[in-house]
Amino acid sequence: MNMTVVNHHLSVGHIAIGGVASASLVLIGDSETIQLASAFDTPPESLIIGPFPQKQNNKKNEEKR
């Protein structure tokens, strides 16, 4: 495949960014390959309602001592 790219004058005034997060890229320049991947997990089972099992175990350990 043949391809011709002509880069003309490129001038930017001000860039205001709130946040760059989770495998993101802000690039002022040229690049060959970019591979960015992000996984985010908040399924319903991530919501735990109830007592704190670890905390109870700690209490038991303290009682043993």
Binding site: T4, H8, S11, I28, D30, Q35, A37, A39, I49, G50
Partner: protein, 132 residues
């Protein structure tokens, strides 16, 4: 030949969790980050409570494939300059890059799991609300 990047002012407030602010050219950038965010009603912290063994931390994320087809590219830099007067960034977090200059390969992987833990009292409250 790559272009020249000219930035007069860069202001970044916070750069955290495996992030990079790169000024100048680079060849390879590879970033990897794992985060487990536990939010709970009670103030209780134990770093060994949850081992990082959730599937989200081990599952393979299919990366966008790099096309290996040979491309005969001819690039003409009519103006070999990328000029930016000012950049204002509040936060850079979780395997992110702010790059001024040219690069070759960038690979980044971020895995984040959120867990929320609420007390039983709140559940009862929610149940009573539901019955209403």
């Amino acid at each position: 030949m790559s272009r020249l990047s000219v930035v007069h002012l860069l202001k970044a407030n916070a750069v955290s969790f495996s992030s990079v602010v790169q000024v100048g050219d680079s060849q390879h950038i590879r970033l990897s980050g794992r985060a487990l965010a536990v939010q709970r009603q009670f103030e209780y912290v134990d770093s060994n409570e949850f081992p990082l063994a959730f599937p989200i931390f081990t599952k393979l994320i299919p990366l966008p494939p790099v096309d290996h087809e040979h491309v005969c590219r001819y690039t003409l830099h009519d103006c070999p300059l990328i000029a930016v007067h000012s950049i204002r960034i509040i936060g850079v977090s979780s395997t992110s890059v702010v790059h001024i200059g040219s690069t070759k390969n960038v690979e980044a992987e971020s895995r984040v799991k959120h867990i929320r833990q609420l007390t039983e009292r709140r559940e009862r409250h929610a149940r009573s609300r539901r019955s209403d």
